[in-house]
């Protein structure tokens, strides 16, 4: 139950601090996100810049990049996911402990980007794992990554601890492991996990969506 903001301020003036469990719990979670130290291509360079002195992601509580998925709760997919690398990305995601979040950084991570029609590039990581925030750009500026991070913080902050929208780690029945694709004779098998990436809604014109007619 939320506290009336006015009442909270009034009580604050009296030296009484009132909060709710979910508020303080999410406040703690959103301000100590530990990203995984893991870069895939050119976007990773921008991610590194974001953490360095000029942009200083540490100001937002995401200071400790962890080289182990067991100690990280944010995966920043920074770069091109080749089909050779995709199973490892999904496996790393599976190895992260809940609660865990994913930022898909850059055109490649979203859709394959400039290499979309290549024989070796996955057309977006959200074919296999759920993504919380997408950042367009090639590469996105460090400011864009910080914006995505603040968007993620707002999302964490807004998560209720009970009810249907509660985070996966508070839901015993929630799906936590995602199938790791196999490297088959011609492509990854399966080419997409339909549970996280359903088919887009059919277009009314009967043409492929967005065709310029």
């Amino acid at each position: 139950m939320a506290v009336e903001p006015d009442l909270k301020i009034e009580l604050g003036k009296q030296g009484v601090f009132v909060t709710t469990i979910s508020e303080i719990y999410n406040w703690g979670r959103k301000n100590s996100v530990w990203p995984m130290q893991f870069g895939l291509a050119c976007c990773a360079i921008e991610m590194i810049a974001t953490t360095m002195a000029r942009y200083d992601l540490a100001r937002f509580g995401a200071e400790v990049f962890r080289p182990s998925p067991r100690q990280a709760d944010l995966m920043i997919i920074s770069g091109t996911i080749t089909k050779k690398m995709a199973p490892q990305v999904v496996r790393l995601y599976n190895q992260m402990a809940e609660p865990k979040y994913v930022i898909a950084m850059g055109a490649c991570a979203i859709s394959g980007g400039p290499f979309k029609q290549g024989y070796n590039v996955l057309k977006g990581i959200d074919r296999y794992i759920p993504v919380d925030v997408h950042i367009p750009g090639c590469p996105p500026r460090p400011e864009a990554l910080i914006h995505a991070f603040m968007t993620l913080q707002a999302r964490i902050d807004a998560q209720p601890l009970t009810g249907g929208d509660r985070p996966r780690h508070l839901d015993a029945d929630a799906q936590g492991l995602f199938p790791v694709p196999e490297q088959g004779a011609h492509d990854l098998e399966p080419p997409v996990n339909r549970l996280v990436w359903p088919l887009p809604a059919p277009s009314t014109s009967g043409k492929p969506t967005g065709s310029c007619e």
């Binding site: 089909k83 050779k84 029609q117 024989y119 070796n120 057309k123 490297q183 088959g184 004779a185 011609h186 492509d187 080419p191 997409v192 088919l199 887009p200 059919p202 277009s203 009967g206 492929p208 969506t209 967005g210 065709s211 310029c212």
Partner: protein, 216 residues
């Protein structure tokens, strides 16, 4: 730096039976290349590297080319007896030229400090066909820098280099069966969601729709 013709003459003097041919390049760059007979390629390559005049000790690049088989239509003049008179008649002849795979090597000499501007010495080798006789001798024993690039050619074009120390796929995974840089490679049909399709992609997206009956 010596011209391709001079190098060819040097090879012919040193190794008369090597079967090296000049492949002329008719474009303004006139970057002619030398086509090696796979059976003698190693001997020629060693000669090119060890000969003190040439000293081509650095292989900067190795790559592949796919030449699919094609049907060639030609007009030929034949002499025929028409109504008892010999006349020259033009006839259209069709012939099928078999396809082959080609490996191309670019060589420089560190010793003679070749500049990029003079262009590399270009070697070519051709396989017999594109299907079952795709072996070529590896030149890695002569130029160590060819090792990974020959693996890449093996991976993407499917040329099998005999004598290569470690011939495995390098870019694609081991269980992968196709050779993506071949011209007849068909990539997997995942054109179900193309937000802005055009040209080739639009064709593939419509093809996908026809194949699966799923409108996207």
């Amino acid at each position: 730096m010596k011209s391709a013709e001079e190098i060819l003459a040097a090879i012919k003097t040193a190794l008369p039976e090597a079967g090296v041919e000049l492949v002329p390049n008719p474009s303004p760059s006139a970057q002619h290349s030398l086509r090696l007979d796979p059976a003698h390629a190693l001997a020629v390559a060693s000669f090119l590297r060890n000969d003190p005049e040439l000293a081509l000790d650095y292989c900067s690049n190795a790559t592949g080319v796919d030449w699919p088989g094609k049907e060639i239509t030609e007009k030929v003049k034949v002499t025929k007896v028409v109504d008892g008179v010999e006349t020259i008649v033009e006839e259209t002849v069709k012939r099928v030229q078999a396809g082959y795979l080609e490996a191309v090597y670019h060589l420089y000499s560190m010793k003679h400090a070749h500049r990029e501007i003079a262009g590399p010495v270009v070697l070519r080798m051709r396989t017999v066909n594109r299907t079952d006789q795709v072996e070529l001798p590896s030149l890695t024993p002569v130029w160590r820098s060819a090792e990974f690039q020959e693996r890449e050619i093996f991976d993407l074009f499917g040329i099998v280099f005999t004598g290569h120390p470690d011939l495995r796929r390098i870019l694609m995974w081991d269980g992968f069966e196709d050779h993506p840089m071949r011209r007849d490679y068909v990539d997997p049909d995942d054109f179900e969601y193309e937000p802005t399709p055009h040209d080739e992609v639009l064709k593939r997206a419509e093809q996908h729709k026809a194949n699966t009956g799923v409108t996207a």
